[in-house]
Homo-oligomer: 347 residues x 2
DNA sequence: CTGTTAGCGCGTTCAC
DNA sequence: GTGAACGCGCTAACAG
């Protein structure tokens, strides 16, 4: 047989004639088998399989309004924070026979909006992770389709929040306990709920422990941003830094190493999200993350909404803790900057 | 306003009456603006936007047979090999206004098959990455829909292959050049095309360089598998190992460290796929990977097929190279096991 | 240039 | 229990 020869798609009508019944009967055989002769159902299903008939998802959706699809939109698929979340969401949806569209907003609100428009007419619900849209935009979209947020806190919209505040607080206590007096927080994206949350928690905790706090902006959470921001960190008198996420922290480690500054001997560093495991050297002290649970819970919430089992203002909070590894220590006696001491420092 | 009050979805008909034209005209305003009065188009589009009208993707698909969707199925979303590929594929599709379904087969052929059945009636094309299906199954699916393979070589099916063989060959030369005589290859999944390719390339190159090769099986490419397989590696007399992928290699590094074996002083290690960057310590020597390019190319190929611009037996090969970092060195003089020798060797 | 008509494949009233 | 007719929202022939 010639390649490229595509098999004609079988329809309900084909099955109907082959079985000597009407289309309605075939339809019922698949959707309401109990309202049909058990013998008929078996016969029809058999013939259908023989013919290689697969129900047309699209036609069914048009007719019923149920697509059995949902959309998952994240800001950056390649950011290691997301894959576990995506995976969990995907598999949770799968368990209920839902298909999931994946969208990558690339940190751009307009792109995110475009994607939603493209998806909205073929999904039953939307799952937005770390959305960069405004509250108003989100509310608008939520009026069109059931909508669940992950790591974004908009009153009235069902949401799953990873409470990194807890972990950040512990990080501050940890640093204060080691003797640090002055730290810097490296901001992530300004429109990020997670970033605001972390920064605020950090400020509050720092005040309690009488730590001085400087702020520095990385904007985009990435290795490169972290590396680029090192000079600003060093300009402050801080002896430790908490970074928006692990990627940024990893970049900072590299930047520090390039300047011959040893972590944690001369400078302490804490990341966030625990996406790197113990892969860095020294292994990174960081705040735990439960993104897979968040993904699973988000989808579960959405499915509940779709089946009407849900109402009101759900707000699911997953808390976190500090994972102490090897990038934090007591501050050096000397200033971190100009110390060309003769000790062999690892890069 | 009560929450949960969903806004009624606007249809073409609504726009039509509001604009005082027929549905067809509205339709054309969106699909063939040039066949309409430029004034009319503008007016209609305005009204549409005002009403919050969004074309119904599903209805359009049913009518035209064009869904504007494609399915991307991978074996494990959370494996760091895939996210860049997924991201690139997603954005490439996005550029042509295609939506992409993401499927996670979880390394299970039956699950992969189920996913395809679920997707097939609502996509125009399928993109299978590292498929675990049999050749026959793949050919069957390809008869129903345009289908592109990534890292799977089935004659007659368009495919994009990351030729890690090149890089593996260089790895062997590199190890041989350092003086290694006996190495082990740590297998990945047995149904993986990439694994067979790497193992074969390794064997051939090893023979040329007169290296002895032992095989060890990790089956699942993961950190844990790598760690678990360390005892077997040490049972051989090998002085170096090439692992199926970086994850496995990272696990091996941990396992070695736990046994007090220093890499690369007492044992050399090469990974594959370069997904960890320089994040490990010591930073991992590995074979480069171009998964993002593969993703982009795969989608591009698929889109070409859909627009009829393509025929025949496309086979796109992306080659790779060795990235030498710090986990390879000359073999120790003594046996790798019990040697507290004092030599400070850095690469 | 624009309106009319007829489906796309399926679920769902209604009758029988 | 089962069949016939209508409509989901849109595009693709045809007119005009």
């Amino acid at each position: 047989m010639q390649h490229g020869a595509r098999k004609k798609t079988q329809t309900m009508a084909d099955v109907a004639v082959a079985a000597g019944v009407s289309k309605s009967t075939v339809s019922r055989a698949f959707t309401q088998p109990d309202r049909l002769g058990p013998e008929t159902v078996k016969r029809i299903k058999n013939i259908a399989r023989q013919l290689g008939y697969v129900p047309n998802h699209t036609a069914r959706a048009l007719s019923t309004g149920r697509h059995g699809n949902l959309a998952l939109i994240v800001s950056d698929v390649a950011n290691p924070f997301f894959p576990p979340l995506i995976r969990a969401a995907q598999m949770e949806a799968d368990g209920s026979d839902f298909c999931v569209f994946l969208g990558n907003s690339d940190e751009d609100p307009r792109q995110e909006d475009r994607l939603i428009d493209r998806f909205v007419s073929q999904v039953e619900g939307l799952l937005l992770v770390a959305s960069r849209l405004t509250d108003e935009q989100i509310v608008q979209h939520a009026r069109r389709r059931p909508l669940v947020l992950i790591n974004r806190d908009v009153p009235g919209i069902p949401r799953v929040l990873i409470e990194s505040a807890t972990g950040v607080r512990h990080a501050i206590e940890h640093l204060a306990g080691l003797g640090h007096k002055h730290i810097v927080y490296v901001n992530g994206p300004s429109s990020s709920w997670a970033n605001r949350q972390r920064r605020n928690a950090l400020k509050v905790a720092a005040r309690q422990h009488k730590l001085e706090v400087d702020l520095v902006n990385a904007h985009v959470p990435s290795y490169e941003s972290g590396r680029a921001v090192v000079p600003q960190i060093l300009d402050s008198k801080a002896t430790a830094a908490v970074a928006f996420d692990d990627l940024t922290a990893q970049g900072i480690m590299t930047g520090m190493a390039e300047r011959g500054i040893s972590i944690p001997r001369q400078f302490s560093l804490v990341g966030c999200d625990d996406v790197l495991g113990a892969a860095t050297y020294p292994s990174l002290t960081t705040v735990s993350n439960r993104s897979d649970e968040a993904g699973r819970a988000g989808v579960s919430l959405l499915l509940d909404m779709l089946s009407g089992r849900m109402a009101g203002d759900t707000r699911l909070v997953l808390d976190t803790h500090l994972v102490v590894r090897q990038t934090t220590a007591a501050p050096a006696q000397e200033k971190p900057k100009g110390s060309p001491s003769g000790q062999p420092e690892r890069v």
